[in-house]
Subunit: 445 residues, 2 copies
């Protein structure tokens, strides 16, 4: 697949990007920077600001007005900030969070034009999705977190595009990246999970810096014996997967599984259930949640393996609790960042609803890969209501409207910066294709 | 094994180190800095100096007088420099080059005392060797280069000792390191192989920097499900290997396989053959190499899998050529750094000797893990001579004398720095136990 990547990097220009790829990437970048602003005040980000105090530079940290670091440290912070709240977009075949590291990589190239940034993102995502198609599920099931592993390769592709390095340097950069890619799933549920995104971005940037200055790596380090596919996958045959032949022609970016924006800052497996519950809430505004008698949630069995907290006690556990998400949607009528503080999760009025919830599988949803969910509620007065959502908002077929992109951005941004800054950053993101340089965006941070 | 590491870091003080551990580590540090000075002018190091020009700081680069970088970049350079010529020491169970990253980690802590540096090195090496005992050969055979993978964990242990961080931070640092460890064998034979050593050191340092500022990782990221042992090894049972129970009691550092210093800048599998050939050369000083008729080399079959170049054309190929090393020893009477330039390897007077060499296995050496080798030479006048070396110089039972340590250091240092600087650096290395701070050493670079 190395040759396919090199050919795509060489031949695909901005003008070759289909319009819906451009607009999808623009939405994804906007969304990522919004959730990055919200994530930038999370404890993981406080730690990174402190830990890199001795690494001076002039690269901007998202949401940290005036704080600057060296290039690799800033990329590490920005990737971590975007993924810190698990509110950033996902790619299905890779089981990864592509915008976290791809946007962090773009932000580390302030001199690049907005159009080159869009092209770099698009090519990086195409490679990341194909790593997923050719190496999963085995890569994920083996214990790798693809945001760190595939993310390092994809960020390197983006950095190759943005640096305009030679083909020889591109080969070496990808080979160096193969020796940097890491990230184990044991760190899920800790600050190191978002750090994987930050490391992927800084790895990609450093791989290109090293290679551009002549450091060599093997041309077989990605797809040969004892290379990335071989060592981190089931074998080198993955490198011959048919998906590589369509790189630069078929666009994963706009496929049903290429990108999914998250409407709620919880695990994606909860999203159809949350949507069902919110619709029921809106249809029953007069009813007191305290009079709810029973709640039945029918969801694919697989979601039970992911959503393991039936009685969550912390905000993080709440993000992976079907019961908590449904109870909150039915009780509060909204799922926001504020829903996932420890205090919110421990609220007695929510905790008291949890025992009335039964989660099971039915024939209607069995085996559905999109977590299709039916929620059924009955009240003590005998009234009942039910709702079925087969596909969450934010998926390709239910992509955010421009208003939804803006609403989520502003909700996120308000957590960390003032309205005037948010307006400027939002405007720069929406008009990224017309930016003379990414610096016009990052100077607002 | 996490608990064993934490207990050793907490309980083992400088005074607990056996005298021969102290002197062995002192020799290893001296040797590493010597080969690092020689390696510092290699192309890989030129590339790193250029690639990190925008990463300012006050950390010294070995052999680059006055050049300073940020801490992580300096550690990356120093680790790469030490391993650049493949002339640095090895650990047998890990199949790794421990001093490359351990010494680079130490040099990144200029405020540490010399005694703490010795303690940090010793504990790092003990962990690295045990990772080898519990995870090999499967880890190596799977395609990992342990200098990058185990090296990241071992450097983190050393950095934990040198930073004096809390136990909670130590746990997180090791967990972060588990998500940074990488390095694939496909990059052998390129500049990225020594880069693995540099990355291991900078990974270890950054893991501790992050964790010391509060970034959390999972306590199971090293030895739990989907952690380091599980994902990069054959399974978590390796974490229960009996060798972990002796950490801080039995010292791998001074075991027969703990450290081997390299007398020759070629693959270790060539060393008994080189030694045999040099002895034959010395016994036959009057004879013209041009009159050599036949050379027979009897070596374990396994060495043929490693030494794949029977007609090498480059300096790097020469390092992995039994034929070239034996021919040079018998023709020149010495194997030095100058033996492995492209010009030296292409010398017609050496190339003409290669066809007269036969490499085979005999009952005497079959299966020997130390590459025991017999060399037999016959000249056209009918004279013949033979020599058998079961164990290379530099192995534990044939450890370097103080004079040999000094000779190798000065030979290496003369490649890149003046005699006066070499004397100062050598003196600081030999007296490291008495240094108030490592800065007294690094300020000489």
């Amino acid at each position: 697949m190395l040759s396919e990547i090199l050919r795509a990097v060489e031949s695909i220009q901005y003008d070759d990007l289909p319009d819906d790829v451009r607009s999808t990437v623009t939405d994804a970048i906007t969304d990522a920077i919004g959730v990055g602003i919200a994530g930038s005040i999370e404890p993981a980000c406080d730690s990174l600001v402190a830990a890199t105090a001795d690494y001076p530079g002039n690269h901007a940290l998202i949401g940290r007005h005036g704080v600057r670091r060296d290039r690799a440290s800033a990329a590490c912070f920005n990737g971590t900030a975007i993924h810190a709240l698990d509110f950033d977009d996902t790619n299905h075949p890779a089981y990864s969070h592509p915008s976290s590291h791809l946007v962090a990589t773009i932000l580390a190239h302030p001199a690049a034009s907005g159009r080159d940034a869009l092209r770099a993102y698009a090519l990086g995502l195409e490679v990341e999705a194909r790593l997923g198609r050719s190496m999963n599920m085995s890569h994920y099931l083996h214990g790798w977190h693809a945001t760190g592993t595939f993310g390092t390769i994809a960020s390197t592709v983006a950095a190759i595009v943005l640096s305009g390095c030679s083909e020889a340097a591109a080969v070496s950069a990808l080979g160096i990246a193969a020796s940097m890619a890491s990230g184990v799933r044991a760190n899920f549920g800790t600050m190191t999970k978002p750090l994987h995104a930050g490391l992927a971005a800084s790895n990609g940037i450093r791989a290109v810096e090293f290679a551009s200055c002549g450091l060599t790596a093997s041309a077989s380090a990605v797809d040969g014996k004892f290379g990335f596919f071989d060592v981190l996958g089931d074998g080198t045959e993955a490198a011959q997967h048919e998906c590589w032949g369509t790189l630069g022609e078929d666009w994963e970016t706009i496929s049903p599984f290429g990108l999914a924006l998250k409407p709620y800052p919880a695990c994606g497996a909860t999203h159809p259930a949350i949507e069902s519950a919110l619709r029921i809430f809106r249809r029953n505004t007069g009813r007191d949640a305290a009079t709810i008698d029973q709640i039945r949630v029918e969801t694919p069995a697989y979601s039970r393996e992911i959503l393991v907290y039936d009685r969550p006690r912390s905000g993080l556990e709440g993000k992976f609790s079907m019961e908590y998400c449904v109870a909150t949607a039915l009780t509060r009528g909204a799922i926001t960042l504020d829903s996932f503080t420890d205090t919110a999760v421990q609220d007695p009025s929510i905790q008291s609803v949890l025992p009335s919830i039964t989660v099971s599988e039915s024939a209607e949803v069995a085996g559905d890969s999109e977590f299709a969910t039916r929620v059924s509620v009955s009240w003590s007065d005998g009234h009942s209501d039910t709702e079925f959502v087969p596909l969450a908002p934010g998926k390709r077929a239910r992509w955010f409207t421009p208003a939804e992109v803006e609403d989520k951005f502003m909700m996120c941004a308000s957590r960390a910066i003032d309205q005037s800054s948010a307006d400027k950053i939002f405007g720069a993101c929406r008009g990224i294709a017309d930016l003379g340089s990414i610096n016009e965006l990052t100077e607002q941070f």
